[in-house]
Amino acid sequence: AQTVTQSQPEMSVQEAETVTLSCTYDTSESDYYLFWYKQPPSRQMILVIRQEAYKQQNATENRFSVNFQKAAKSFSLKISDSQLGDAAMYFCAYTGNTPLVFGKGTRLSVIA
């Protein structure tokens, strides 16, 4: 079964600095998608960025970018120029021939 592991339960970053959240996954599938979701205290899951496994180029969305290492099964999220509004739970998720599988999340605090 596919698994997603987030080894950092909590992270903190100074406002305007850069932070990287880690995620590893386990799969035997060749075609899949990886996602980072943000969940603020309002509880609504918001898609931050997604990566298609067959694309070698790392996805980028404004201040958010990923480092996708397919061979190592690693998918980290980099947040540049961190803002107070970035404070939230961040979940890494995987889907292939199975429903979305989420990691346990990383709580990100942003310090003013």
Binding site: Y33, M45, L47, A93, N97, L100, F102, G105
Partner: protein, 115 residues
């Protein structure tokens, strides 16, 4: 475009009582999902509908949980009878159709507390 709507936002019940949650997906979205998110964990899929048919309910505790999407639009998730371990946030999501390339849009969730 209106997002995924869920109600109620909060619910407190005693164990062995029953409870129902409602979800209205984004208009035109054929696929609807119910997730359970226990505190400190990521969401776990309970059931997936494609229109009014069930695609995947392998992780739904069918002895106490039931869900329906009769007209292929709104959906209800019911728990009867509730147990303490059912305390969680129940998230509804929808996507245009099934398939790994289609983004899921999530509702605000219902926080259930079973005492």
């Amino acid at each position: 475009e209106a997002g995924v709507a869920q109600s109620p936002r909060y619910k407190i019940i005693e164990k062995r009582q029953s409870v129902a949650f409602w979800c209205n997906p984004i208009s035109g979205h054929a696929t609807l999902y119910w997730y359970q998110q226990i505190l400190g964990q990521g969401p776990k899929l309970l059931i997936q509908f494609q229109n009014n048919g069930v695609v995947d309910d392998s992780q739904l505790p069918k002895d106490r949980f039931s869900a329906e999407r009769l007209k292929g639009v709104d959906s209800t998730l019911k728990i009867q009878p509730a147990k303490l371990e059912d305390s969680a946030v129940y998230l509804c999501a929808s996507s245009l159709t099934s398939g790994i390339s289609y983004e899921q849009y999530f509702g605000p969730g219902t926080r259930l507390t079973v005492t």
